[in-house]
């Protein structure tokens, strides 16, 4: 019997579901190897209760409703795969703002928003609520890494994804260093690899969309960027765009 798979989206841009659908050359093979039984984005006939071998989940948890649905999926799934930076790290919706969220809401939606009293829980990664078995970072996740994880799991293997920074991939591609040679604010040294250093290949500085590499030396990069005359607050906000919740946690752990 083919393993039963579920594909789910919490709050996000649908990027990982689009990446899955963008595997045009492999899609029919994947459908041949697994049974996609719960995928609201792709089907109107779903089994929303039964057990799953693997649940792929994109997006962050923004409210109690999403937390409850995440917990239900976890109970059903043998393995839970967090797909993309929102699911792994909280993503862009969790970035620092200039003012408290209540005020941001007031700014975007006016008095109407304030009057309703929304459920405005901060966007948080899946790992804050449930056990995550495999994390595929990236905004969006790379097609190649998704396919690698699917292939590994089908073969009963533990998927291995890079645990080194974008900087290393960039060096291997022999790109000109945007940070050192061109003085651009590149997040490559602290960002986890897997994208093939895509942005620097286009002469564009890495914006850290894949989240922090393990044991990232962020304070050292901040020092370099300060020397490049970047404003301290801007540096902080820049480096915390995609992964503020996990960086907060790391910081706390460092202080403890």
């Amino acid at each position: 019997m083919k393993p039963k798979i579920g594909i789910f989206g919490l709050s996000g841009c649908w990027g990982e579901q689009i990446v899955i659908l963008n595997c045009e050359d492999q899609l029919l093979d994947i459908v041949g190897a697994v049974d996609i039984v719960d995928f609201l984005g792709g089907s109107s006939a779903n089994d929303e209760e039964g057990p799953l071998a693997v649940a792929f989940i994109e997006g962050s948890v923004a409210n109690a409703r999403e937390e409850a649905s995440l917990r239900r999926i976890r109970e059903r799934a043998q393995l839970l795969v967090a797909c993309g930076s929102c699911a792994c790290f909280g993503g862009v919706a969790a970035m620092d703002a200039m003012e408290p969220r209540e005020q941001v809401i007031q700014r975007v939606y006016g008095d109407y928003g304030a009057a309703i009293g929304w459920d405005i829980g901060p966007h948080r990664p899946l790992g804050d609520f449930v056990k995550v078995d495999v994390a595929i970072p990236g905004c969006p996740m790379e097609k190649t890494e998704f396919l690698k994880v699917v292939a590994s799991l089908l073969n009963g293997d533990v998927p291995l994804l890079p645990a080194y920074p974008v900087c290393l991939e960039c060096k291997m591609n022999e790109n000109d260093c945007l940070l050192v040679n061109q003085g651009l604010p590149c997040a490559g040294p602290v960002t986890v690899a897997g994208c093939g250093a895509r942005c620097p290949a286009y002469n564009v500085a890495c914006i850290g969309c894949r989240g922090p590499v393990e044991e990232a030396n962020i304070s050292s990069l901040e020092k370099i960027l300060l020397e490049k005359k970047l404003h301290e607050v801007e540096i902080k906000r820049k480096l915390r765009t995609f992964a503020a919740p996990v960086l907060d946690r790391e910081e706390k752990r460092g202080l403890a």
Partner: protein
């Protein structure tokens, strides 16, 4: 007697939404297109961020329209800063838009809408009986992605778009490779047309559709500085800089999302609206498809938006080939992106993304930091119109069973190709 019809969670749409209809006897008392996507507050989050950072952030509003979000954001910044891009940059951006249009329409027409029209729950189930049709659709979808990758560096959340141009201009080899792919895509368009010609479009609701779209000024189909909105037999023209007089965004008590109305009436944006206003531009195979699929505009059948998307998809393949051939013939130049200097300024821009008109405006301080940002997505504009159409479905089909009505309401909702993930302006009420 009160009767409530609820669709908890719409399937085969991007994002989380539902439909609630309440009837008092034969009278429809409430139609809600509910949106329960978590709020993400992009316009508030980008305040204080540098103008170089914002485009990479707002791209994340929506994966499937990420090229459109990026380029519209850049055009608003460029309009604010007074930056003029080169004709080559404009043509490459136009090409990327055709890529997005091919990808998005191929996905929607074949993978999300066609299963409805042929009585299947999903494209996987459809692939079981029409494998060649699905493979054709997937190849076209891939072609759209390839174009977006070559110009933007990545299919979802492009990396190569910067203020004034590109990080890296694609080379002649890239364009030659694209040309080959697009030429093959033309043959797939013929195949796709054969499939669609066998599908009958349901006609359970007749309700006039008021259309709005940008009016193109040159060969770029998706760009323009004037919005046209159909009013009776005429077209009202509104400059993009005054877009708020069209969109009039407001919060409404019965809905969880901001709505747009013009002169207190809803309007529709998207492929059907574009072809209603700018259809005279459609020629070649796309024109043949138009006739063969019996599209007529203005249409009073919203489900025809799926057909309009199919015609546009073919048009985009043909246009993409034209642009690529032109760039190859003239020789693509490795232009540096236009220079700019931060200063206090404000600017707006609009483009036609697959689902309709997308508006951006920014106000910047003298350091180039964002003081305020406004984003209005096509789906936000369409919500009010979608509710009007759903109300018409319920009114015009009195006596049908709840299950059939539910099916029809979903077909109507999906006809708009709603992109609920375009979460700016999407409000979530408490549980």
């Amino acid at each position: 007697m009160t009767r409530t019809i609820t669709i908890d969670h719409l399937s085969r749409v991007e994002g989380h939404g539902g439909i609630t209809v309440v009837l008092e006897g034969d009278r429809v008392s409430k139609v809600e297109f509910d949106v329960f996507e978590g709020i993400r507050l992009f316009e508030g989050l980008v305040r204080g961020r540098s103008m170089e950072d914002v485009t990479g952030i707002v791209s994340r509003i929506c994966a499937i329209c990420s090229h459109g979000h990026s380029i519209t954001s850049l055009q608003a910044l460029e309009n604010a800063l007074g930056v003029e891009v080169t004709p080559q940059t404009r043509r490459l951006r136009d090409l990327a838009y055709h890529g997005s249009n091919i990808e998005s329409h191929a996905l929607h027409v074949f993978c999300l809408a066609l299963p409805d029209l042929l009585g299947h729950p999903s494209v996987v189930s459809l692939a079981g009986v029409m494998p060649d049709a699905v493979k054709t659709a997937l190849r076209l979808k891939k072609l759209g992605n390839t174009i977006q990758e070559v110009i933007g560096g990545r299919a979802v959340h492009p990396v190569n778009y910067v203020i004034g141009g590109f990080g890296k201009v694609p080379g002649t080899d890239d364009l030659l490779a694209l040309k080959k792919e697009i030429t093959a895509g033309l043959a797939d368009c013929e195949r796709a047309l054969e499939v669609l010609a066998t599908v009958s479009i349901p006609d359970f609701v007749r309700e006039p559709i008021r259309c709005a779209a940008l009016l193109p000024e040159d060969e770029a189909f998706f760009f323009g500085s004037i919005i046209g909105i159909c009013d009776g037999d005429g077209v009202t023209r509104i400059p993009v800089r005054d877009y708020r007089t069209l969109t009039n965004e407001h919060c409404v008590s019965h809905s969880h999302a901001k709505h747009s109305q013009h002169d207190n009436r809803s309007y529709m944006v998207g492929a059907l609206a574009r072809l209603t206003l700018n259809g005279s531009r459609i020629d070649g195979l796309a024109r043949k498809a138009w006739e063969r699929l019996r599209l007529s505009v203005p249409s009073a059948n919203i489900v025809m938006n799926n057909i309009a998307q199919a015609v546009e998809m073919i048009y985009s393949v043909e246009q993409a080939l034209k642009i690529v051939n032109g760039l190859i013939a003239e020789g693509i130049r490795d232009e540096a992106s236009a220079l700019y200097r931060p200063h206090a300024c404000r600017g707006a821009a609009a483009t036609e993304v697959p689902r309709g008109t997308l508006y951006y405006s920014y106000e910047l301080d003298d350091q180039g930091r964002v003081l305020s940002a406004d984003v209005i997505t096509p789906t936000a504009q369409n919500l009010s119109n979608a509710e009007d159409q759903m109300r018409a479905v319920v009114t015009q089909t009195a006596g049908v069973s709840d299950s059939l009505l539910k099916q029809w309401l979903q077909i109507v909702a999906r006809a708009y190709d709603p992109c609920i993930s375009c979460s700016v302006h999407v409000i979530r009420a408490t549980n």
